[in-house]
Amino acid sequence: MIRYLNIFLFEFKHFRKSKTKVISYLVFILACAFSLFNGFELQKKHLNTIDNIQINEDESISEIITWYENGEKGPKDRSWIDVTNPYWSIRYSSTYMIKEPSKLLPLGIGQSEQYGYYQKLSIWSSPFDSDIAEEITNYERLINGNIDFSFLILFLLPLLLIILTFNINGLEKDLKFNNLISIQVGGSKKWIFYRLLFYTFLVTTTINCMIFSVAFINNVFNQELLHLILLSNLYILIFIVPFYFIIKSSDGSTSIAFKMISLWLLLCVLIPGTAHQYANFKYPVNYMTDFLDANRKETYDVFKYSKEELNTRLLEIYPNLNSTYHARDTSVNRTVVRNTMSAIVNKLNTNAIGKIEQQNNLKNNLIVSTYWYNPVSYFQNKWNAITCSDYHAYSKFRNDIQRKIDDRLELLVFECWDNKTVDLKKYNSYLKTLRQSN
């Protein structure tokens, strides 16, 4: 056993004596540090934006509260606004839905640049509105990727491993002293194994330290962190295991390097590229015409409905409206009905969004079904899921937005139909429904 421990320990000397390996390793560490710095910057930028948004929201809400306190009905230059009416009170109280960045975001920004992380909600909002577009960004930078920690681990780390290991048993074969090694060790399998083990140890320790450093800085020690560590270590094995067999069976360092690079290309570029092409072939880009129809044509059709039609539609959506003040009245109040018709539009939007999400899910299911031969995409999406930056995290955010819109509209409809008068106390109770955090 001491022999193998010695092989393992001596490998540090081999590593130290190779300038290429040491420089590559150091460059990788620097890149990791830079990526974490970028990740923290992005997190900070998101948090700052969120702070500004919250300040903004607080200011506009306190303006409305001042009106109540001063007995005013709204802004002085807009006489038609009356915040004692639930319609104007709710319509004027635009609030934000925010997706807080995960504390682990510096470790993987995933798809977060593809989506918006806040939305201003009104009675006409929908989670697919254009104001929830992603942050302003340079698309060409986006396709080249960020110096993102997960990118470094998933795509560059295997290349670092290639540089570190391609001449194990390759140099010996190139210089034809592999037989001498075999004689000394009594077979090369374990010798290769322990040499590889050193680099596996080196790399996993480095990565784990990096992950822990983020955990320390952001004070996050939870199960997700453990999952991330496990995932990264497992990912390293995905490459190290085939590397072992390549090293064992190849004729020299050139052949080893060729095979390792081919494996990298296959796993990181070709297979995901093929799966991507296939998924897009089956489910091409969605121009969202269902949603566009709901959002525009059908919405405008709703505008043309008579008050009776609107009334019927609203009662279909909210059967409990029957017990409200206006529903009990025999004549339909035109203003109340028109003020609450955004709930009908919301219903149309929700139906269309359901179809879109369903289509997206079909595509996602297809992607998931490729995981068994497409491990890199699996690790990538798992990683992003842990850092809450994958499609599902944003899909959940959209669902949260939709729920909040539904709540807002339900409040609007019932309060308007019940002919309520809004005072400060009532308004504060509205805010509990309207605002994300109370």
């Binding site: 290429t20 890149a31 930028k45 230059d77 807009r78 995933g110 798809q111 593809q114 806040y118 254009s130 577009a133 992603e134 942050e135 302003i136 340079n138 698309y139 060409e140 930078r141 986006l142 396709i143 080249n144 990727g145 960020n146 560059l156 290349l159 540089i163 001449n167 140099l171 190139d174 360092s253 050139t254 390097a257 060729f258 690079i261 990181c268 570029v269 070709l270 991507h276 092409q277 998924a279 897009n280 072939f281 091409p284 880009v285 969605n286 121009y287 015409t289 566009l292 129809d293 525009r296 044509k297 997206n360 595509k363 996602n364 992607i367 490729t370 995409s377 999406n381 499609y391 944003y394």
Partner: protein, 468 residues
């Protein structure tokens, strides 16, 4: 020289691995190119259907108020270029749908990348993926040992004694490997032309030529560098590891680093900052729906004077339409200022990235590849600009109809006929010709030529002093 090249090729053809790889790549590229064309047609068709669907809704619009129609608006669907199947560039990350309506300029939304989980970081399996990632590696593996094996087996000395110059030998080797890359490039272009014959026009031919030359130059540079390193280091392992390392830096590392750096050099505003700045400027204009405000009063006064009447009701036109258009014009001015600045920043980033080609020719290749395929940022910005130009004409047509189409001030219920709506020009985006854009790519072309020249000089220099 010709004899050496022919001899090299004979050598390739008796090498089983080479023949296998050659056949594999020819088959693989043909398949990928062909499937890419089908995929492109499919997306183009989807885009056309979406466009027709939306236009049909517009054409079927009942008699309505033109300003309501401006709010109703329309949609611009970003089309993909014919050569998108070769290099899809940024197509998958940009939005595809842009709502064009009155009072506001929207963001382009619904990118393909936002519609699913991530599948591939380096893009779909299309010819550009093979040209940029796989063929260069193949060429590296063909070239790293070509000189060293000649040297180690003593054939090099033999050839020199026979009277061939070292430079000739080296350049012959460079050219013979380069021809392999050219062959694969030509094959792809050939398939593209055959299966896309309906869409081939002079612009597509120019774009394909630029694409071909860009990759051809890049391959030449890469082979030159590989052979140069093998000449300098005299060890196949050192040559291979250094070239692969160079490839990794060029292809994976530098583009990401440079992307981040250019973004830091010319930072972009956050969306909320941008919107706030815009809405602040916008609030200084006329609110089309708010009957108050100094600017509005001034406009009212000027209009009354122009028509020589005292009251709005006496105007032969609908003043509301004038106000709406004035509001639009102001909004356009604000848009021009803010989006103009944003686009300037984006172009600065792009220019800086282009300059990084001097240390990384892959950047120049990438720009030219996307540019010639019509899928880069310049083309995207062109689409956004033309959409906005269309939006302006579209809204102005509607506002003018509102103002001058026969209604008078205060007639809110006035409606324009269906014929009028049908007569409003549709938005048909045409991809700009490459020649109208070529100046934007001059720097990339210069960079690739510089690298061709620079690496050739290095090979020339090092083969002068070489000791065999």
């Amino acid at each position: 020289m010709k004899e050496i090249i022919i001899n090299e090729w004979v050598g390739y053809f008796i090498n089983k691995l080479f023949v296998f790889l050659g056949v594999f790549f020819i088959f693989f590229l043909s398949l990928v190119t062909f499937l890419g064309i089908i995929q492109n047609d499919k997306i183009q068709n989807e885009q056309k259907l979406a466009h027709e669907h939306i236009r049909a809704q517009w054409d079927g619009m009942e008699a309505s108020n033109p300003h309501s129609a401006a709010h109703y608006g329309t949609y611009a669907f970003k089309p993909i270029s014919v050569l998108n199947s070769i290099d899809e560039g940024i197509s998958s990350v940009t939005g595809n749908v842009l709502r064009l309506e009155g009072h506001r300029q929207n963001d382009i939304v619904f990118s393909e990348a936002s519609q699913s989980l991530i599948i591939s970081k380096f893009g779909k399996l299309n010819p550009s993926l093979i040209f940029q990632f796989i063929i260069p590696l193949l060429l590296i593996f063909f070239s790293f040992n070509t000189y060293i094996s000649e040297r180690q087996t003593g054939r090099l000395k033999l050839m020199l004694v026979q009277g061939a110059s070292l430079r000739k030998i080296i350049f012959s080797k460079v050219l013979s490997i380069w021809f392999i890359g050219l062959l694969l490039l030509l094959l792809t272009l050939f398939i593209q032309i055959i299966f896309n014959s309906d869409n081939i026009n002079s612009d597509v031919i120019i774009r394909l030529s630029v694409l071909f030359l860009s990759y051809a130059f890049y391959y030449f540079i890469l082979i030159n560098i590989t052979i140069l390193l093998s000449v300098i280091f005299k060890s196949s392992t050192a040559a291979l590891s250094l070239t692969v390392l160079t490839w990794v830096f060029w292809t994976i590392f530098f583009p990401t680093i440079m992307g981040n750096t250019t973004e830091k050099l010319s930072p972009l505003p956050t969306r909320i900052e941008f919107k706030e700045a815009m809405s602040e400027d916008r609030s200084k204009g006329i609110d089309g729906h708010n009957p108050r405000g100094e600017r509005r009063d001034a406009l009212e006064k000027a209009t009354l004077e122009r028509y020589n009447v005292d009251k709005l009701e006496d105007l032969p036109i609908n003043f509301s339409g004038i106000v709406m258009q004035e509001d639009e014009e102001y909004g356009n001015m604000v848009w021009d200022k803010h989006f103009g600045n944003l686009y300037i920043q984006l172009e600065k980033q792009k220019n800086n990235y282009q300059l990084s080609g001097f240390i990384n020719p892959f950047a120049a290749l990438q720009n030219l590849s996307m540019g010639s395929a019509g899928s880069d940022m310049y083309h995207h910005l062109d689409f956004l600009n033309k959409s906005e130009s269309y939006r302006r004409v579209f809204i102005k047509t509607l506002n003018d109809e509102y103002a001058f189409g026969g209604s008078k001030t205060g007639e809110r219920g006035w409606k324009a006929s269906n014929e009028f709506f049908r007569s409003v020009k549709d938005f048909n985006y045409e991809l700009p010709t490459f020649l109208s854009f070529y100046t934007k790519y001059l720097i990339d072309i210069i960079i690739l030529l510089f690298w061709v020249f620079f690496t050739s000089i290095l090979v020339y220099f090092f083969t002068r002093k070489i000791t065999v």
